[in-house]
């Protein structure tokens, strides 16, 4: 089991619960999609898994290790969970190379270079090292964000609405690319979408939230 969520509850304020005793299990190498309307709590599940929010109660285990429960809270930087944000959040003051190597600066310079080149190859953007985020198209930005997220070798990949910022023509192409990249490296993935078609195309497992 790569991810196990048990009895997870969460609320942003006292009035309404976003999640109530939510359970989820995802196997290693599986691609799962969380589908639901906005406000159904699907993005919140990703944020809780990444450690960006703290649950009211419940437990999350990643690769057999508890990252949060009643006693414990592991900070996001220690969870080895990768997340591609809806707006990509590429650091505007860093170029593509610096963005991708941001999470692997503990490696030697040579290793960093190799790893970055390898990832750029993977996302079909070799040679883009010196560009800055604002010089990239929406689709390119997303692929760089993906490369940056994969660089440290996360145990779990989280994709928050990966197709929402793209226009319809691009969408189909990007979906195929993304699917093949994920298959190629075989990483356990959870993606969040409000569109059932996206979910069906991408994932082996669909979880509906209401």
């Amino acid at each position: 089991m790569q991810l196990k969520i048990s009895d997870l509850s969460f609320s942003y304020n006292k009035k309404e619960k976003v999640l109530n005793d939510f359970n989820l299990e995802i196997n290693k190498g599986e691609v799962a999609a969380l589908v639901g309307r906005s406000g159904s709590g699907k993005s919140t599940i990703l944020r809780l898994t990444a450690g960006l929010e703290i649950p009211d109660s419940g437990r999350i285990e990643i690769a057999g290790k508890t990252v949060v429960d009643e006693q414990k809270f592991l900070a996001p930087e220690k969870r080895k969970v990768g997340m591609v944000f809806q707006d990509y959040a590429l650091f505007p003051h860093l170029n593509v190379y610096q963005n991708i190597s941001f999470g692997i600066d503990h490696l030697s310079k040579k290793k960093r270079k190799e790893r970055t080149a390898e990832l750029l190859e993977l996302v079909n953007l070799a040679g883009f090292e010196k560009r800055y985020p604002h010089q990239l198209s929406g689709g390119q930005q997303q692929r760089i964000a993906l490369a940056r997220t994969l660089a440290p070798g996360p145990k779990l990949l989280l994709l928050d609405e990966p197709f929402s910022n793209l226009d319809t023509e691009l969408r189909d192409k990007i979906r195929k690319e993304l699917k093949s990249i994920i298959k190629e490296i075989g990483i356990t993935t959870i993606l969040v979408s409000h569109d059932k078609n996206d979910a069906e195309f991408m994932a082996e497992k669909e979880i509906l939230l209401n």
Binding site: A50, I54, K78, M83, T149, A151
Partner: protein, 549 residues
């Protein structure tokens, strides 16, 4: 788990640093409140019975008058600049902020000089038109005059706030009102004014804070307010107890004002349901309305900046008499004090703002309130609080001396350290607001992305937040720099012996009726501040252009 949730994604180091800063910010206020229960002196009885009502009366007239008039002037000009196009608009857009570079006390002695019996206005009338007008019609040295001075030199606060607010409004708002058959005049009264009420009141309350803080204008004009009374009891009579009492009373007044401000701003917050806003499109003015708009805005700029500058330059030429080294000396003192204090303050503000950003909304709000507290409290009051604290510290050192033979002698009172501490208490809020709005603009996701990429709070801060905050840090730094440059009451009370800034020296010369000698110092001070304003406004413009391309 609940506590953790409140603190959210923090790291303990940041909270501890913030707690230390907050402790020092609150300290002078606590000191004053505690002393509320101390014994009262005879002086206080006298003050309370005969003078207090006068202080209240004068203070109220000053804050209500200048608050209201600067709201009118600031909001009107902001609307003119945002909604219409006319020759000179681009220049006036930032030039109308320049009056802020002129400290009101300098404006006060300049205008008093212009309008007095031997001043240029009366001379012109007498010598060229042979008209003799009784001086009392031109007398500026009264409450009315002070309101005039405050209004023309402080209205940019309202102008800036309202302009920033209007720039975020959608043009469909105006277009639909026009289609519904409303004239521009009634759109301004019925749509713009109510909509921007919050911004206008926020701006006016800044004006009111500045008026409450002011010592220079009222002292020069001979008007008794809380600030002058605190000065008199401390400097004149050495009566700390009375100045503490006065400080407490002034704080009560401020609590009431802050409460009224909150009430006026109300719970109503208007916002848009869509995120796609077309910014207001300016309407080209022509014919008579073009000239009216130009006349109005240029005359305000002339009165609030050009005339004082010319008068100062004229005096400065008249005073040619080798006090260059004196000016240089004070300019250097002022520059290094302001630069150093602003650096310390911006670092403190960044620490608190970063903690606020990592905390829950409630804690972030409380932190914001506490930092801005110092700005709402008049400098003279803060000075009393800090004096009390430093005297206690020195007393402590005295004990140490007594029991352990450690040699000390009033180590902390009246040192530069104490002055910078006081500046921090008063101006940290300004820096905090800049940094905080910088964080707002950046948003959360860069921070979160860095965290999920394996970086802790502190590494993220240095590698991601700090480089992205640069523009906000620069504005915050320069705003504090200007404030410290202009600062008078705190510096006068707390400065070390023989320590003179441009502000204190210019004020003393003017107060001793040596206006010519004050002119050079004032000019240098205004030029420093004006340059800082120029950098702030033009860095914003440069970034805006970069974003558009």
């Amino acid at each position: 788990m609940q506590l953790l949730k409140k603190l959210k994604k923090g790291s303990p180091g940041w909270y501890i640093l913030t707690l230390v800063i907050i402790f020092f910010l609150l300290l002078p206020n606590f000191n004053i409140i505690i002393n509320l229960f101390a014994e009262v002196s005879e002086n206080w009885e006298h003050v309370r019975e005969y003078l207090l009502i006068n202080y209240f009366h004068n203070t109220l007239i000053l804050i209500l008058g200048s608050g209201f008039l600067s709201a009118l002037l600031g909001a009107g000009l902001a609307w003119l600049i945002i909604a219409y196009d006319f020759p000179g608009r681009r220049f006036l857009n930032w030039a109308l902020i320049l009056p802020l570079a002129v400290p009101p006390y300098i404006g006060a002695y300049v205008y008093a000089g212009i309008f007095n019996f031997t001043g240029p206005v009366q001379r012109l009338l007498r010598n060229y038109f042979s008209i003799t007008i009784e001086q009392r019609y031109f007398d500026l040295m009264n409450l009315r005059g002070a309101v005039f001075i405050y209004t023309i030199f402080l209205f940019p606060y309202v102008y800036l706030m309202t302009k920033a607010f209007l720039a975020k409004q959608s043009s469909s708002l105006l277009e639909s009102s026009r289609l519904l058959g409303k004239s521009d005049y009634s759109i301004f009264l019925k749509i713009i004014l109510p909509l921007s009420r919050g911004a206008i009141i926020a701006g006016s309350s800044l004006v009111i804070m500045e008026v409450l803080n002011d010592y220079g204008v009222v002292k020069y004009f001979g008007i008794s307010t809380f600030t002058t009374a605190i000065f008199n009891s401390w400097f004149g009579m050495g009566d700390l107890a009375t100045s503490v009492r006065l400080a407490v009373t002034a704080m009560l007044l401020i609590v009431v004002i802050l409460f009224i401000e909150k009430l006026l701003r109300g719970g109503r917050k208007y916002s848009y349901s869509t995120s796609k806003l077309r910014p207001l499109r300016r309407r080209q003015l022509s014919g008579r309305s073009k000239f009216l708009a130009m006349f109005l805005s240029y005359s305000v700029f002339t009165v609030a900046f050009i005339i004082p500058m010319f008068q100062l330059i004229y005096w400065s030429i008249l005073s040619r008499g080798g006090n260059f080294s004196e000016v240089l000396n004070h300019a250097l003192t002022s520059f290094f004090t302001a630069a150093g204090a602003a650096a310390i303050i911006i670092i403190g503000a960044v620490i608190v703002a970063n903690t606020a950003r990592m905390s829950s909304k409630l804690i972030a709000n409380i932190l914001g309130r506490i930092t801005i507290l110092g700005y709402s409290i008049p400098g003279a009051v803060i000075a009393v609080g800090i004096l009390l604290f430093m005297l206690q510290l020195d007393l402590l050192f005295d004990y140490l001396n007594l029991y352990f033979g450690i040699e000390t002698n009033l180590v902390l009172s009246s040192t530069l350290l104490m002055l910078i501490f006081a500046y921090t208490v008063r101006f940290l809020g300004i820096a905090f607001n800049s940094v905080d709005s910088g964080y707002d603009k950046i948003g959360e996701s860069y921070f979160e992305a860095a965290r999920t990429l394996g970086k802790g709070v502190t590494t993220t801060f240095f590698k991601v937040d700090l480089p992205m905050l640069k523009p906000a840090l620069l504005s915050g730094y320069l705003l504090v720099f200007i404030e410290v440059m202009k600062e008078l009451p705190l510096t006068l009370i707390l400065r070390p012996f023989n320590f003179d800034t441009l502000a204190t020296r210019a004020f003393e010369y003017a107060n001793d009726e040596m206006i010519y000698r004050a002119a050079d110092l004032s000019l240098v001070l205004i030029i420093f501040s004006a340059l800082a304003i120029y950098i702030i406004t033009h860095q914003r413009r440069r970034r805006k252009n970069a974003a558009e391309n």
